[in-house]
Amino acid sequence: MEKQTLPFSQKLFRALVRLLPFDFRTNYQGEMEGVFQEQQREVEERGGLLGALKLWKETIVGIFTTAPREHWQILTSDCGYAFRMMRKNPGFTAIAILTLALGIGANTSIFSVVHAVLLRSLPYPQANQLIFIRQQEKKLGIEDLSFSVKEIDDYRSQNRTLSGLVEYHAMSFTLFGHGDPERVRTGVVSSNYFDMFGVQPLLGRTFLPEDDKLGAPPVLVLSYEYWKNDFGSDSGIVGKTFEMNDKVHTVVGVLPPVPQYPNENDVYMPTSACPFRSSKAHLHNRDMRMMEVFGRLKPGVTVTQASADVSAIAAGLKASYPKSYPENVGFTSVAAPLQEELTRGARPTLLLLLAAAAFVLLIACANVANLTLSRMAKRERELAVRSALGAGRSRLLRQLLTESFLMALAGGLLGLVLAYGSLELITDFVGRLTPRAREIHIDSGVLLFTLAAALGTSILFGTLSALFSRSNLASSLKEGTAGAGTARQQNRMRSALIVCQIAFSFMLLIGAGLMLRSLIKMQQVNAGIVPQRVLALRTTFTWSKYTSDDKTRVAIQQLLDRVQSEPGVLVAAVSNRYPFEPEIITGGPESVSFSFQVEGRTLEPGQSPPVSTFAAVSPDYFKALGIPLKEGRLFAESDNEKGPIVVIINEAMKRQLWPNESPIGKRVSNDGGEHWGTIVGIVGDVREFGLEHPPIPEIYAPQKLNLSPGVLIVRTAVEPRSMAKALTRAVHDVDSQMAVSHILSLEQARYESMASPRVTASLLGIFAGLALAIATAGIGGIMALMVSQRVREIGIRIALGARPGNILQMVLGQGMLLAVLGIGIGIAGAVGLTGLVKSLLFEVPPTDVVTFSGVGLTLLAAAALASYLPARRAAAVDPNVALRAE
């Protein structure tokens, strides 16, 4: 019995002792075990379980009170020591902290975005149950087809996996009764929309099922921002009335400040209040698609199950309504998590930036490790003396880690300040990629990340430098002077770190270079228009006022005549949209696409019909935008409701459908052959959905035949934005109730369309520039150190007849060797990481030779420059001085 308990109790005691610091144990463990054994023997002699229990209790309490005290004492003395060392080397400390701050700051700021956009769930209850449903016409390449009222009814009544299904579409209406007529962004939603998302109103109520009934009194819910900014947070807003679409609308509630998806709106109305959604055409025509659909999964149902469910419903629709869903379009529908849907556009860019930020931090770590090593060379004697005086190795490691952690912590704090300062900029940027941008802020998750980054950083660079110095402590005492063996080993370590820095810098520069090349390529692309001195204005024709087509036609003509007469106006046109219009870029070509048929051509079974985008334009549209006529004629005033139906196509369509013949005179139809439009002209291609999108087939129809005067486009003789006021006045001369908004020059629109790649390139460029600066400074630093360590050797060489040129060459050569090694590794890494950037590039291969060679040369030049100064100093060594110095 005794023999069995004794070893176990010793083991247990030993385990407890392990809680004490290493050095303490080294000093006292043996003695402590001896004392404990004697105590045990004593207890056993006296006998009794109580005595044994008491001993254990005292022993355990003793260790648990002593251990934290001992650790704390070491920590405070290490911190004190570290602070003294940092004060003694202010230059080193400042550079190290600043380097780390840049690295940690870059990571914190990118992480705050990734955290808010990709990691955190949407700010709604059980947000993982929210899904987005998409109809698709796969064979036409249409991934995101909107829904018609009929279809929504079908999905709602037939699904078995959803606890709620709601619709949404965005409109612009003019609101009267609150100052000037105001164009308000309006979300038209199902009555259970807010209930399904779990949003409770701040004031009043949201919508009720009876609000959705046709003919129900129109009601409005205001968004928090609109209520706050336009109504000064008026607490008596509920019950107030405004006129919209010729009807009195009553405000019934105000939303809380929640992020609004999929768009931000000023007001929300139920489906019955939208004049378009409640029109006969929309209610009864299965093919009038305008809405988006969201759903909430029933508890326990997966997205995959829901996807299978909606796809089965789609198959049923296909069977029941073959005319609406022809076999050859590949109609189906899928469900996807809403969160994924809202962040799809941002994901690749954010992941690329996160990787870039991580690289910057790695470079910063390598650089600080290098700085620490250089400083360690000076401190080696001190550390060796401390070691000789009895400080255990792990004690020294611990102290070095404390020093590095304090520096990383300071760097982290400064980095946090940098991240905080850049928050607005970064939110603005991410806003172009995802509606979640407004959720970005620095919260506890981000703070935790910063702390972890600081801790990880300190362990990385602290261990790098400490591990190394450990192995050399013994030798440095013996060698007395800067020991040759140790120095060489240390230099090898430092060189390896420099090579790493160059390799990472190379990869970052490649990333930035590729983005920049893409951007330049994009800018050089011929958009197909002449954007200089063109202004576009959104004009909202109050639909209730222009009840007949004739009235609208007259108004359009009056508008064009009035605008034309304005001094400074060269050409004016109206259309339903214009190239680079922000909404069109967001919506993509799919939002204005339709399929059609060509007269005399029958489709093979399974063959998909051709698809084209569509624009309704007045005759001068082409002239105003500078779109060249390639064949046939442009529209004339006589192409109106009284004449035959005519259309103009672009060259992309000619290439696709009539590659070897003239399409002039051919006829196309988009209503199953009920009406045919004759092609009268071919115009140049326009990259209107973004410069990165190659031109796609487009059909233009005369505005007078397809009344949709949403935009006024004006070519001016002067700076276009200077005419905004005069043109707005001209519009109001024709109709004072017409809201004018979204005034943008075509150049602005074009510039804005490239915002995302431009900001990505800029951020990557900043990261890469930082990396280049750090790496260059690193090369310069290590070459200078090597030269100073080798003064004696260089002196001997010169004394033996080496010419300054040889010495210069030698030092330069060493610097260049590091650069070449780093570039070599960098090339391998960059080639391996092409997947990360591929999707973001435009007409530039991820292994673009120009970028790779340009970046390589840049780094070589930087390395040469950085090594040149130390090399010149080496060449100027006076052998007499050098040899005497030792």
């Binding site: 005691f13 407890l16 002792v17 004490l20 303490f24 000093n27 006292y28 043996g30 003695e31 402590m32 075990e33 001896g34 004392v35 404990f36 004697e38 105590q39 001993l55 005292e58 022993t59 309490v61 003793g62 260790i63 648990f64 009170t65 002593t66 251990a67 005290r69 001992e70």
Partner: protein
């Protein structure tokens, strides 16, 4: 004067420290002997465990109040692992200063006739 300034930062000593110093006042001892002596003298009121004992020894040694003795007992009586500790001059000064401090406090308590007062419940 100078001595007092030096001892002052260590006052008041913790009871454990004071008793360890007292235990060493009449000669060098190894750890277990210190522990036994303290327990005996305080009638088990101050009981040191291995952890608290060596925690205190480490601090006293670092502060120079005690030191490890180079003398070893005769071979045969010696346990390899044992180390012997002795009270340094400075340690003696600190112990004296602590005793004086306690004496002064005791005197003041007596002057206030603290001891005759009944215990408060």
């Amino acid at each position: 004067m100078t001595k007092k300034r030096e001892t002052e930062p260590f006052l008041p000593l913790t009871p454990a420290m004071f008793h360890i110093l007292l235990a060493l006042a009449d000669g060098e001892k190894h750890g277990y002997a210190i522990l036994k002596e303290v327990a005996r003298r305080t009638e088990d009121k101050v009981r040191l465990s291995a952890g608290t004992l060596y925690g205190n020894l480490a601090r006293l040694e670092n502060a120079g109040l005690i030191a490890e003795s180079s003398r070893r007992p005769e071979v045969g009586l010696d346990d390899e692992r044992r180390r012997y500790y002795l009270l340094t001059e400075f340690g003696r000064d600190v112990a004296v200063a602590e005793a004086e401090r306690m004496e002064e406090a005791l005197g003041q308590a007596r002057a206030k006739k603290l001891f005759r007062k009944p215990k408060l419940a």
